[in-house]
Symmetry: D2
Subunit: 284 residues, 4 copies
């Protein structure tokens, strides 16, 4: 199972024979499927699938797999992505002052819970510089305020290019990323510290406390131009009671934020997330 | 433990000696406390407590316990309620067309999960008449629409008085109760089929599906004039995935609605819920 | 989606091309797959899949689907089952004195959460006769003790044959079914009121209380000759605390038992459960 | 709330007037109670309580609080402990090769989730030396095998004395501590990587996989002479499916182990855990 694999993520209008067509493409070229999952959204008339197979023994050279598959996929009006397991994605983690999600992602990376490189940390504060140093990751302090946002985002984009970043993870970055930035770099996962769509925006734990909820949550989602309204990848919750003040919610929430963000990032990096409309299919 | 008990629910500004004062009141009159719990909301400067003791061996006759306690409580600016465990509360269950919460409450009542009488079911539809008959409960069909709401609510109030109802349980009643009604009969518990404050109002499962959430919830709360914004007593959630369409959310949600509503009603009937501001303390 | 469907549940040694082979069988005969899921157990070298397709438009008549598929499946050393969605399975519910799982299954059946007929209830006590009558289900009281077990099991088997039962659901039956009975009628689902393998055998809530656990559970599983050791279909848990005495565990446990048993039965009836060794794949 | 507090943990045979007696002791000496919780185990005839009050304004000097309270407590046959919030407990973390619980405890300590000092790490392997160095904690490598256990445990005890350790946390130590050691140093919290009492002993994730469970758990408990049978402080679980192989169980379990161990340690350090028999009351 450790030989390199290729993964296709495909969505297309539902019709007869799709499973057979896609499976035949792999099989007729000598591929051994090690994971296949599909989902039909009958309301949307959409077929969505993930197929992963071993490259060892596959007859097509990598460079032409895409073109070969497109000959089948194009007539089906399908959208598809092709990923190779040995192409290691590069992540930039963006933080503010809180360290728990950063530590957690670094620890999971070291523990090989996901395959990626983490060459870059960007922050609007200098506070976590030391952690970056401890683990040998470059840290760029780019303070952001209303007046300098446009030029600072330009610097951020430049860094993403320089470090050849594939995915930005907002690990409690606590700043709104501009629509313009997102249009230029759309692969961004955020952890929002509430059970979205409850408590959009600032200070969700304070909002939750005010509302007197008995459960709090966290949401890992792709960032879109609408604040906290992007496609949800993962959510989880924890019970709270009248005993818990705002600080307790924050403390309990941190455990949620860590695990929910990590699961969302891991699913994305394993090419298990397919976005359509404002929803996701997360293949198991 | 089966001898009758008295329960005090007290809230007052926090100050030294409250636990001692209240406990002494019971002890000096020969009472045996079988449950005591307290909570201090430091932000609000409020002390909240529940004390339950056996009436057997208590020196004060029931009729004067309130007055005697008030001599202590009034100088402390406290709000308090006194309940006797052998005064059985009377519940009216209001339903629409769905039967799952109704069946569930009736079953739990039969299973003695809570102590109450259920003499009355009110519905804006005739559909569940048969279930009422099956269990020997009076069923009143009071259709409600925009034009007749005022007069029909008058009929509902009349029924509550006639049946000497202490608590109205909206078991998927699916209608908004008017502010005027609530001011006249404020003891109402509702089950809202979402994890409030997400998806207030109509069709929360459709809203949840549209938003693409990965968890759905249900909320048991007291009804106030603000729609779906009253004090929350109980919430619970269940995971969903892309496999679940709206009908699946509805099906999974029913299990939540049953248990969450039952827990909220049970906590209320056991005098374990203290409301302050828009929050609740639910004593364990 | 409401036209009848056929479902294949297949397990076979893993090898290249299985997804393609099975999908081609459906597609080449004009079938429209509406659900397909597969799993490879690499440790066991086993491929397991569930494929469901619409019979409308499928070129093979029902009677020969099995034979036609076997021509493909036999050379692959596969085990397979074929089910038609309009062949409604017949369930016998076995109970003792507790009514919660029985009520729940009947309510879900009425609510069309699963497709089945429930013509028969068997009990070793007369207590739930009335519920059976209420819903028009035949109730057979077959008292069991050490001395009459063999002959009473013979009566039970006779009833299962007479009522053409496909599945026995032990809904808190509280009796051990003999190995001999199981060998003659192996389709039995049981709800065990603990988080197996903790607290096998009698009085699991008392055992749980004695051990001082902070969580209790329930387990829906197929019955095998080893007591409480059959393949697990579904489990769930709920938190408890020092506040909960044995009766509280029993009360909280009932909610678990209802939902866990219902989910296990529903998964089985939807042909989503594949047993291999002492494990299950539960296709989503 | 940040002024120092005293906390009494008391258990005694249940009788009338206990709440009043204990509250009066605090109040008559000018103390302001900031937390009080009690529980009566009616089956055991035992009253258990936790009372925390501010030392500021309390009339008794610290040195004599114990003696003064004992004058009340001794006639009641009570067991009691007295703790001061500014007496910072000292923890030794014992590890083997896995780093996740160690990292987590260190991070929570830095985040001030609990108040303690962590001057000492003991391990039977050298692997985590570097982490200790990173955070400035002394690391002692004490390899253990069958032949040297007695002498190595002597060294461990010596270190605990030298570092004035109050609590040993077995953060995946993976070794059995001898009965003799426990009798000499009984304050030990362990994280067991299963939902006890399921899967006692070695390799619980392998055992869980073999049994085909649908949920895995972790248990934080005090260590006693009976392996994995000590009083449980905290448990939590996570769902698994047929998709999860043993490595997945291990990965998912690590998240549980981290949070369950941390909650158990935190509850202990906040003097919220009262052990009686083989059970705990964990005051909220």
């Amino acid at each position: 199972m450790n030989s390199p694999t290729a993964t296709l993520l495909i969505s297309c209008p539902d019709r007869k024979g799709l499973v057979a067509k896609f499976a035949n493409f792999i099989y007729s070229n000598g591929g051994n499927i090690i994971h296949a999952d599909q989902h039909t959204d009958f309301a949307a008339g959409l077929f969505l699938t993930r197929i992963e197979w071993q490259l060892e023994g596959f007859n097509l050279p990598r460079e032409i797999i895409g073109a070969a598959f497109n000959a089948i996929a194009a007539p089906l009006q399908s959208n598809w992505q092709l990923h190779f397991s040995d192409t290691v994605p590069r992540i930039a983690i963006w933080v503010s002052r809180q360290d728990h999600c950063l530590y957690d992602l670094i620890w999971r990376h070291k523990a090989k819970e996901f395959t990626a490189e983490i060459p870059l940390i960007i922050s609007n504060h200098p506070d976590l510089q030391e952690i970056a140093a401890q683990f040998g990751i470059d840290y760029h302090h780019i303070p952001i305020n209303k007046d300098n946002k446009i030029e600072q985002e330009a610097k951020q984009l430049e860094l993403l290019q320089k470090y050849q970043i594939d995915l930005v993870v907002l690990a409690k970055y606590m700043q709104i990323v501009s629509q313009d930035f997102i249009s230029k770099f759309p692969k961004i996962i955020n952890i929002h510290h509430s059970f979205l769509p409850a408590f959009v925006g600032a200070n969700p734990y304070h909002q939750a406390y005010e509302r007197g909820v008995k459960i709090i949550g966290a949401t890992g989602h792709y960032v879109t131009a609408d604040l906290d309204a992007g496609p949800i990848i993962e959510q989880d919750v924890v019970k709270v009671s009248h005993r818990d003040n705002v600080n307790d919610l924050i403390r309990k929430g941190k455990d949620l934020e860590r695990t929910v963000l990590a699961r969302a990032v891991r699913a994305h990096l394993q090419n298990r997330v397919l976005v359509y409309g404002n929803r996701t299919v997360v293949f198991e």
